[in-house]
Amino acid sequence: MGKRVAVVAFGQTYQKSSRKDVNGVELINEAVRACLADAEMSIRDIGAIVIGNMDHFEGINYVDMWSVEGSGGVMKPILKVTTGGTTGTTVAMCAYYHVASGLFDRVLAIGWEKNSESDTTGAIITAFSPFWERPNVGGAIAGLAVEASKYMHNFGVTERDGARIAARERIHALNNPYAQIHENWMQGMDVNTIVDLIVTSEQNQMLAYPLRMSDMCPRTDGAAAAIFASEDVAERIAPVPAWVAGTANRHNYVYLGDIDWDHNDTLEGASRAVFEKAGIREPLKEISVCELYLPYSYAGLKWMESIGFCGPGEGPKLAWDGVTDMGGELPVNPSGGVMSSNPIGATGLIRVGEAALQIMGRAGARQVNRKVEYALTTGFGGCGWADVMLLGRARPS
C-alpha cells in the first residue's frame, strides 16, 4: 500500500499583474528558492519534480524541458502535467501520487504563469470546440455568466449577493502581502457600504451579465512551489506537516452545452469522494478553513452548496451571516483567493500551499484564529472541472 504524504514547505512569488523584470524561468526559480528556503533544504534533497502551466499563455512548448535550469530539474526526474485552470491542483495531486507511490520521498511541485505575456481569454477560447462553442460561448467568462444567471434565477439571488463575495475576497487579501489586488480603500469600511459601492459604481464595467469587473479574478504573473514528503521524512522537515487526508477530481465535460447548470456535479462528486475517504460527515463543522478556487464571485455562493457546506440556495445566507469571513465559523480564502491573484498554472497550488500554512500556523497576518484540524482546497478549470485536496493536522490512519 501507498505511503502517507504531507506538504512540508511552500514558497511563492509576490503576485503581480506584470513581472517585466524576470523571464519565466527566473520567475519559476524565485518560487523554487523560496520553497527550498522554507524547508531548509537544498535542491539536492529533492528526488523528483512536477511542473505545470498552460502552454499558450507564454507560447513555450515543452515547458518542463525549457525550465529545468530554473526549476532545478537538471539530471532529475521531471514530469509535466497540465489541465487548464485546475493545473495547480493537478500538479499538487501528481506530486502527492509521486510520494504516495513509494518511488520518491521528497517531491517539488511547481506551478507558474506569466499571463502578462498572453492574450489570456484569446488562448482560453481555443480550449473549446472550434465548431460548436468557440463562436458563441467559449472562453473564461461566458460559461460562468450562464451559471450565475441560472443560479440567480433559481434562488432569487441578487448582484449584491455576488458583490458580498467580491468584498470578502478583497478584504481578506489586505492581510496577504503576496496578493496582487490590494483594495486599500476597503480597509476598515463596513461591508454593506463596500457592497453598495461595488454595485453602483459606473466604472465597474459589465463583462457578461451579471458579471462585472469586480466579480472576476485578475490575470497574474506568478509562481508557487511546494514540497510533498513521505511519512518517513515529513516530520523531520516540518514540525507540523500538513498531511494529505484525501484528494480526488472530476473532469466530466468537454462541452459547456452539456453541463447541468443547476448543479456543479464535478465539485459535488470530487468533494464526496474526498469526504468519504477522510471520514468527514459534517463539512461545515469539521473543516476549519478553506482555500477554494473561486474564479468569480457567484462561485463563492453556489459552490459552497456543491461542496456540502449548506443546502441549495443557502450560499448567500452563509456569506451575509459572516460565516465565511475571517472570524466566522468557516473562514474561506484568508489569502484573498483567486479573485485577488490568479497566476493560472500556480493558482491551485497556491490554494494547497496557503492551506498548508494555515495548518502549520505560519500564515502571518492571514492566519485564522483557531487551531486548524482540516483545511479544504479546490481547483477549478477546463469545462466545469473540479479538483479537491483535503489537508489535515492529524497523520492519516
Binding site: 500500500m1 501507498g2 505511503k3 498552460m54 502552454d55 499558450h56 507560447g59 513555450i60 512548448n61 515543452y62 518542463d64 524541458m65 525549457w66 525550465s67 529545468v68 535550469e69 530539474g73 537538471v74 539530471m75 532529475k76 526526474p77 521531471i78 514530469l79 509535466k80 502535467v81 497540465t82 489541465t83 487548464g84 493537478t90 495531486m93 501528481c94 502527492y96 501520487y97 509521486h98 504516495a100 507511490s101 513509494g102 518511488l103 488562448a123 482560453i124 477560447i125 481555443t126 480550449a127 473549446f128 470546440s129 480526488a248 477530481n249 472530476r250 473532469h251 466530466n252 465535460y253 468537454v254 462528486g269 469522494a273 478549470g381 477546463g382 469545462c383
Partner: protein, 378 residues
C-alpha cells in the same frame, strides 16, 4: 515496488493523415485496449491522458477527449510529454493504493500542425527561435557532435534506417515500411546536414492506449499480465550548449536505475529486445550507448554487427521503431505496447524468439533531453 501489470493494449494504425478527430482516435484506442483486456470502462478506476496543446492547436488539449477517454465520474489527469511518462504516472497512481486500475491514452495528429513551427517553439524565444531551429535542425547538430565523438559515419546511420524500415514490414500499424538499401538512404534528399530524408521519422497521426492493473485489479480482466519490473526517468540540461550532446547521460542514469529495480546486470544479455525512441536514425546508435548495450562510441559497431537485427541477440525496434511511424507523444506508448506484444508472443511477423524481458523507452524535449525507461517482463 509493488507489482503492477500491463493487461490491455490498443493502437490505431499510424498514418500520414487520418480523417478521424482527436476524440475518435482516443475512443478507438481506448476501446481497443479495454477490449484486449477483456473488460469495459467500468473496470477502470482512473485515467491518465497524454496530449500537448501545441500539437493539438488547442489550449487544455485534454479537454477535447475527456469523454472519449471514458472520464465521466472518474478521477483523471493529463501528462504533457511522451506516452512513457503517462504510463509512469498511471503506475504511480496504482502504487499509491488509491486505484487498482489505470487507463492511459495518448493521441496526436501531426498532420494538423506544422512540425517545424511547433518544435521551434521548444526553443528560447529571444535568442534561438529566430534562427529557425527546430527538432530536425537541432538533431542534426547532435548527430554531428556524436559523429565527432564516436567516429560514426552517415553510412552507419543508414544501417539503422534500413533495419527499421524493413522491420516495419512485419508491423501492420507502421506507416513507412519498405525494403531500402544503405545507398537509398545516402541518396535521399538532404534535410539538415548530415540528416537525410530517410534518416528522419515521418509526421504521423494516431492514438494508443494501455490498461494497467495491480495484482488485485487484474481479477477484473481476462488477459495474462505483463509486469512492470523497473522504471526511471531523468532530464538533462535544456540549453543545448550546456549539454554534451554526444553523451546521453540522462538516459544512462535512467537506464541504470531501471535496471537496478528490475535486477538487470548485463542489459545486452538480460534483455531479449528493446523498443527505443529512434526519432532520427543516429539516435538509435546513441541510445545503444546510453542504455549500455554498446560501450561509448560503440553504437556503430553494434548496428554493423547485426546483433540488433530482429534475429540477432538483442533485437532493437523489431516493430520498425519511431522511424517507421512517429505519432509524437503516442510513440513512446507504442514502444511499450510493442514490448508487451513481444512478451505475450503476439507480435506476429515481427515476433522475436524467447521474448521474456523487454525494454521500452521514450524521450521528451529537444535532442532527447529527458528519457523514460521501462523494463517489462513476463
Amino acid at each position: 515496488m509493488d507489482r503492477v501489470a500491463i493487461v490491455g493494449l490498443g493502437q490505431t494504425t499510424y498514418e500520414r493523415r487520418k480523417e478521424a478527430t482527436f476524440e475518435e482516435l482516443v475512443f478507438e484506442a481506448a476501446t481497443a485496449a479495454l477490449s484486449d483486456a477483456g473488460a469495459d470502462i467500468a473496470a477502470i478506476d482512473n485515467i491518465v491522458t497524454v496530449s500537448n496543446d501545441f500539437w493539438d492547436g488547442r489550449t487544455i488539449s485534454s479537454m477535447a477527449i475527456q469523454d472519449a477517454a471514458g472520464s465521466w465520474g472518474k478521477d483523471i489527469s493529463t501528462v504533457e510529454g511522451d506516452g512513457t511518462f503517462g504510463v509512469l504516472y498511471g503506475l504511480m497512481r496504482i502504487l499509491s493504493g488509491s486505484f487498482r486500475t489505470t487507463l492511459v491514452v495518448a493521441h496526436v495528429k501531426g498532420s494538423e500542425g506544422v512540425m517545424n513551427l511547433i518544435t521551434n517553439a521548444m526553443f528560447d524565444p529571444i535568442y534561438q527561435r529566430a534562427l529557425g531551429i527546430d527538432a530536425t535542425s537541432s538533431a542534426a547538430l547532435q548527430a554531428r557532435a556524436y559523429m565527432g565523438l564516436s567516429g560514426a559515419t552517415e553510412e552507419d546511420f543508414a544501417y539503422v534506417s534500413v533495419k527499421n524500415h524493413k522491420n516495419a514490414l512485419g508491423n501492420p500499424y507502421a506507416q513507412v515500411a519498405r525494403e531500402i538499401t544503405v545507398g537509398d538512404v545516402l541518396a535521399s534528399r538532404k534535410v539538415a546536414d548530415p540528416l537525410k530524408l530517410l534518416d528522419c521519422s515521418p509526421v504521423s497521426d494516431g492514438a494508443a492506449a494501455v490498461v494497467l492493473a495491480s495484482g488485485e485489479g487484474l481479477k477484473r480482466f481476462k488477459r495474462n499480465p505483463v509486469w512492470i519490473r523497473g522504471v526511471a526517468h531523468c532530464s538533462d540540461a535544456y540549453t543545448l550548449g550546456y549539454r554534451d550532446l554526444a553523451r546521453p547521460r540522462a538516459l544512462r542514469q535512467s537506464a541504470q536505475q531501471a535496471y537496478a529495480m528490475a535486477g538487470i546486470k548485463d542489459p545486452a544479455r538480460d534483455l531479449d529486445l528493446a523498443e527505443i525512441y529512434d526519432a532520427y536514425s543516429y539516435m538509435e546508435l546513441m541510445w545503444y550507448e546510453g542504455l549500455g548495450l554498446a560501450p561509448e562510441g560503440g553504437g556503430a559497431a553494434l548496428i554493423r554487427s547485426g546483433r540488433t537485427q530482429i534475429e540477432g541477440e538483442i533485437p532493437v525496434n523489431p516493430s520498425g521503431g519511431v522511424l517507421s511511424a512517429h505519432p509524437v507523444l503516442v510513440a513512446g506508448l507504442a514502444r511499450i505496447i510493442e514490448a508487451v506484444l513481444q512478451i505475450r508472443g503476439e507480435a506476429g511477423a515481427r515476433q522475436v524468439k524467447r521474448a521474456q524481458t523487454a525494454l521500452a523507452h521514450g524521450i521528451n524535449g529537444p535532442c532527447g533531453q529527458a528519457h523514460c525507461v521501462f523494463i517489462l517482463g513476463a
